[in-house]
Symmetry: C2
Subunit: 351 residues, 2 copies
């Protein structure tokens, strides 16, 4: 019993910490709860339910599946789902009408051939990186709606009204999700990307600022590890090494976001990725530099020889990176910017 | 017209290239097409259709949504979907019975509270990295089924048979997808991870093998860029820098895969990730090393001073890495393994 109690307390603590780390997670969970509850109201009020009948379920489904953490993510899924449902439904109805010309025996065969063809092609096209980044979800929904409409049409006669109801209920769900995710505590992927890039560069600057002091100190035996824990800037840069995938997914989502805050509709999100690549390049160099910290047996005369220039390079590079980070944060242009790369090159060579 | 023709030809070429690069993509598209066509047969044969009626649509939906490229990915979604449907359905039926005790006015309110509570909690728990990696899809399906069963129960009386039909049709779809993805041209995530790691290390080895020749050659003016294009090994290592996310998703999927080929059920996939981290560490050093290739003005006497030891370190490190790559490929243990890291350290220091 005691063990279970301790376990429960630790889990509760973890949950609390998860919410504390980023309170937007709690808001997001609330928003999803509210959206699903709202859409399920369709079932409780008879006038609403009578309009759509059991198709109301598509609205519920849409809300559950489409609601993503960031506004961009939600819009990506919303727009994909809406358009793909329309396209798939229209094509399904068209194919259905076409197959009625084939007679009773031929009909299921032609229908099956169409389904196979569309499903296989759409699945294959998803492998294109360009299409995958933008319309992956749309392809799934396209196959789904096309198959559903065309096979349902084989059994039920009112295929047009079926396709129509599906489209309307899905658009309803999509509209609800869009409104809630944009107007209630929005989490903008663009804003996140912006500060991620700026913070990454600031982390690199902090490392360089602290490096000189770390490298040229007289090493006290035994407490090297304790040291590292005291100085988070020595480890912070490591997250820059692996930020590629989060940067890319944020940039993909940011593209779908409307005008908000400082960001216009066609904000050049792609340039953030370029800056991210450069920052990672610097982080690789810093990682190589970091290897020197743990090396013993560096002759003292060599150390004292390089101390002066090394100090200068570190502090200047760090200043340049800091200025760069600030200018990204405030979206201003800074004359120091161009000096950055040049300095990095020298730094790399010196070490 | 000519422009459109040229465009069409270029797109056709891209499509062909996409299939050629990895023919498994074509097989995958075919497999999905076959699976969807098979499951839509339920609609064409009256005896099959009479069993499930319009719920047959869940089987179609399951196949479309669940069929992933790798066996592990498909199994992850299949198992998550099956279990979450069962759990969500059972809870939905339970809550439905509970709310019948609340009287006609209280019932929708209590029901809405339950839906809000479950949806918000499940959404929040998805932020736990551990749960996200293993059960993200399951959480979505859980919310979906729970909401669907409990709201449908408010309007229809045969809620138990509704939940049951949904479960059976989904299990049917899941079983079909599992069989096809395991037995017809399977794409094992584990196998892909295995060869990805081994190839990455081989790429690093190739770079080091070629580096010495590149660095100490007499630079011919103007053709430096042309050179790079001729020598793919100088660029191949760059893909190692960014392989983290694909390694991690492959390892996540590999965990779901049954016994196949050389791999047992509990193959230590986590260790591959550790090796991947080490390989990336080496790649960072190599990237720093690569910066030296483009630097001019290195004094010739310095070059000739380091040529001999540098040559030795490069060739030895390269040999060690190659041996390591082969031993991973064949899953054998090699005595050279341990020497690798030590050599890397020296290499870093020398440059």
């Amino acid at each position: 019993v005691e063990f279970a109690q301790a376990k429960a307390i630790s889990v509760a603590k973890d949950v609390k910490q998860l919410g504390k780390d980023d309170p937007r997670r709690v808001y997001h969970a609330m928003k999803v709860g509210v959206a699903i509850t709202l859409v399920s109201l369709f079932y409780y009020f008879r006038p609403l339910y009578d309009g759509f009948g059991s198709s109301t379920i598509w609205a519920v489904m849409t809300v559950v599946v489409v609601f993503e953490f960031t506004v961009g993510g939600a819009l990506y899924k919303c727009i994909n789902r809406g358009c793909a449902t329309f396209l798939g439904g229209a094509l399904g109805v068209g194919v259905q009408h076409l197959t009625t010309l084939c007679g009773d025996t031929g009909r299921p065969i032609v229908l099956a051939l169409f389904i196979f063809g569309f499903a296989a092609w759409a699945t294959f096209l998803r492998f294109f990186p360009y299409l995958k980044a933008r319309f992956d979800y749309g392809f799934t929904i396209f196959i789904l709606t096309f198959t559903m409409v065309s096979v349902t049409g084989y059994r039920a006669d009112e295929i047009l009204s079926y396709a129509q109801t599906r489209l309307v209920t899905i658009v309803l769900g999509v509209a609800l999700v869009m409104m809630i995710s944009i107007f209630v505590y929005p989490v903008w992927a663009g804003e996140d990307l912006h500060s991620l890039i700026a913070n990454n560069i600031a982390k690199l600057a902090n490392y360089l600022e602290g490096f000189e002091g770390e490298y040229f100190q007289v090493p006290a035996e035994g407490c090297a590890e304790a040291h590292k824990a005291d100085k988070p800037f020595l480890l912070a840069y490591k997250s820059v090494l692996n930020s590629k995938s989060s940067e890319e997914s944020l940039a993909t989502f940011a593209r779908w976001e409307p005008f908000h805050g400082r960001f216009r509709l066609k904000h050049p999100w792609k340039l953030y990725l370029d800056v991210g690549v450069q920052a990672r390049q610097v982080a690789y160099l810093i990682d190589a530099l970091n290897g020197h910290l743990t090396q013993a047996n560096v002759p003292l005369e060599f150390q004292s020889l390089i101390q002066e220039p090394c100090k200068k390079i570190c502090s200047e590079s760090s200043k340049a990176l800091k200025a760069l980070s600030c200018s990204i944060k405030d979206t201003t242009i800074d004359p120091l910017k161009k000096k950055k790369k040049e300095r990095k090159m020298r730094l790399c060579f010196c070490s």
